[in-house]
């Protein structure tokens, strides 16, 4: 009988009782920036578990608020990243490839990574059958390969909608890492039925949606929280390599009243030595090559 109270995805491997991680070139911290490049539909179909828009359709204010990212915000966000040489790991609603290939090309030219964030951010996996969820994984892999030449390595479920079998399906399809788990500041193995999967720290707290909208941070305060998060994880990275993720949404961070403090926070990070400015895929592969087996063993020992 399955235990519904526990996701049973990872073992309890406490922060100070686990194998030490060292990042390439002795870096203390791996920093990755994950822009969510999204498309929200004007007239999406209903889902039994979640309403796509708060107001009755058409919710022109909410729709246009999101659309801002693809018209105006993305360029400012990209400029701030370019200025300090940070590549993005794009959490991509893959239908963006069809809707706005112009944006996808700009990202691809910069060597940014693409991973899947579902088809649209207005199509949730709630209520899907296993076969239907497999369909969106296959669609994601094929769409990103067709438009960018990349094989996707990562996954963030559309609007963070998950089912209990989602992680198994990802591993079965060859996806290497998930961003849906927030339990750690280091990558960790995820228990799946077949194959391998790891979680990479993605962070709710650093996510601009959470910062600006949920926690209602003024833009300059968000810049400060990014710097403090970095400073702390940088210091702790002396003991064992940490991961810091900054998940972004061009429709939020890309506004003129918000971009400057954010750009300054990136400068703060890039101004340090021993920082590995990486992509999600690079972090995952380094972890798989050097720490996956040790971490799995350590986790099994804790259980026994």
């Amino acid at each position: 009988m399955t235990n519904q109270a526990d996701p049973q995805l990872y073992s309890f491997l406490s922060y100070h009782r686990r194998p030490k991680i060292t990042w390439p070139n002795g870096a203390r911290i791996a920093v990755w920036v994950a822009p969510n490049i999204e498309f929200y539909e004007f007239d999406p179909p209903p889902n039994p578990k979640r309403k796509p828009w708060a107001r009755p359709l058409p919710d022109v204010l909410a729709y246009s608020h999101r659309d801002y990212g693809n018209r105006a915000g993305w360029q400012r966000m990209m400029d701030a990243m370019d200025a300090v040489g940070i590549r993005g790991s794009v959490s991509l609603n893959v239908a963006m490839c069809e809707h706005h290939p112009e944006i996808i090309e700009e990202c691809n030219e910069r060597g940014w990574e693409f991973y899947s964030h579902g088809i649209y951010n207005t199509r949730y996996t709630y209520g899907m059958s296993i076969e239907q969820e497999r369909e969106i994984i296959v669609d994601s892999i094929e769409t990103v390969r067709k438009w960018t030449g990349q094989s996707i390595a990562g996954w963030l479920s559309p609007a963070l909608s998950n089912n209990v079998w989602t992680m198994d399906l990802l591993a079965e399809a060859g996806i290497r890492y998930t961003c849906d788990l927030f339990h750690d500041d280091q990558p960790m193995p995820v228990a799946v039925k077949s194959g391998k999967l790891i979680s990479i720290p993605y962070s709710l707290e650093m996510n601009d949606v959470i910062a600006y909208l949920t926690n209602q941070c003024p833009p300059r305060h968000y810049g400060e929280t990014i710097k403090r998060q970095f400073d702390q994880l940088y210091a702790e990275g002396e003991r064992s390599g940490t991961v810091m993720c900054i998940p972004l949404h061009p429709y939020l961070v890309g506004h003129p009243h918000r971009i400057q403090p954010f750009a300054e926070a990136l400068q703060h990070i890039a101004g340090h030595d021993d920082v590995w400015l990486a992509t999600g895929r690079e972090i995952a592969e380094h972890f798989y090559s050097h720490y996956y087996d040790d971490m799995l063993t350590a986790g099994a020992e804790v259980k026994s």
């Binding site: 498309f39 539909e41 004007f42 007239d43 179909p45 889902n47 039994p48 708060a54 107001r55 009755p56 359709l57 058409p58 022109v60 204010l61 246009s64 608020h65 999101r66 659309d67 801002y68 693809n70 018209r71 105006a72 993305w74 360029q75 400012r76 239908a95 069809e98 809707h99 706005h100 290939p101 112009e102 944006i103 088809i119 649209y120 199509r123 209520g127 899907m128 059958s129 076969e131 239907q132 369909e135 969106i136 600006y212 209602q216 003024p218 833009p219 300059r220 939020l252 506004h255 003129p256 009243h257 918000r258 971009i259 400057q260 403090p261």
Partner: protein, 309 residues
């Protein structure tokens, strides 16, 4: 368990938008706009006058700022109405002091109820922009096209008659629209609409009649959002307003003229302790050389003159 087959189909998955109101374009790829006098930023001061009926309903949702207490909610009714009696005059004093043009968004009910207020605005050569009938009458798809057209017609007629000027601009109460709002606005002579929050510059929206220009009225950095929804301080409002201006002013050099809207709900920004912050914001912006202070109508006309062939 599974979802119906339609949930796995994407009929609008295609190049560009998933509707036909406007084509996609990226802000930085467009032809440069040159504002009069070589200005980098067009400052568009936009006071907002609203009336929340005591018996308003949440149809189909409660308008932002709407009354929330059991009838009679004097508390919120009067707090909102304060803006129309007192708050707006504090804002107008500042506009006078810095000799600033402005476009005021006005619920038509204000013109019916407080005709002298309209005379005070018009006497200052302030543009009157349609803002629906009142905050209890949202535009939404539960209305028939006939009902919605009647709302638009009545709003425009009342305002035009009280202001002695034709109404060219529009902001729906709560920035809420039905599927047909833009078509109805176009049919009633509206030239620009401020409901959509997806750009920093104007762009044309297609309707069943003439195109309507979408004008960039900020949403998340307006006074109500910052002070009431996000509960930031006045210092934070001021910092965000200055930061916004600085970025637009800087970008304008590279990309061409930009627009800085400044929404000022009279019931929010018109309270005494906020006046000094508004004064500081206006002083800061007006302290820059390359700023063109204009009404929405003038900004829209200048934009169209340069973009329409």
């Amino acid at each position: 368990m599974s979802l119906p087959p339609e949930y796995m189909q994407y009929p609008m998955r295609r190049h560009g938008m998933d509707h036909d109101r406007y084509p996609w374009s990226s802000l930085t790829d467009r032809p440069r706009i040159e504002w009069p006098g070589g200005a980098r930023v067009a400052l568009w001061v936009t006071p907002i006058l609203q009336w929340f009926p005591l018996n308003m309903t949440a149809t189909p949702f409660l308008a932002p700022g709407g009354l929330t207490m059991p009838y009679p909610d004097y508390r919120h009714y009067t707090n909102r109405d304060y803006g129309n009696r007192v708050g707006i005059f504090r804002i107008l004093d500042l506009l006078d002091r810095y000799k600033l043009a402005a476009s005021t968004f006005v619920n038509a009910a204000i013109a019916e109820r407080y005709p002298s207020l309209l005379r005070d605005l018009v006497g200052r050569k302030i543009e009157i922009v349609g803002h629906g009938l009142d905050m209890g009458h949202l535009h939404h798809s539960g209305l028939s096209e006939v009902q919605e057209a009647e709302l638009v017609k009545r709003s425009c007629d009342v305002l035009a008659s009280a202001a002695g000027q034709s109404i060219k601009g529009w902001l729906s109460p709560g920035r809420s629209q039905s599927w047909h709002t833009l078509d109805i606005l176009a049919a009633h002579g509206i030239e620009y609409c401020c409901d959509w929050a997806n750009d920093d510059m104007p762009y044309e929206m297609h309707t069943s009649g003439k195109d309507v220009l979408s004008m960039p009225l900020v949403h998340e950095s307006d006074d109500r959002m910052i002070l009431q929804e996000f509960r930031h301080t006045e210092e934070d409002w001021l910092a965000q307003t200055k930061d916004r201006f600085d970025v637009l002013y800087r970008e304008a050099e590279r990309y061409g003229g930009r627009i800085m809207s400044l929404p000022l709900h009279a019931w929010i920004m018109g309270v005494p302790y906020r006046a000094t912050y508004l004064r500081e914001a206006l002083e800061y912006i007006a302290g820059h050389d390359k700023v063109w202070v204009a009404t929405g109508q003038h900004i829209a006309a200048e934009f169209r003159r340069q973009t329409t062939r």
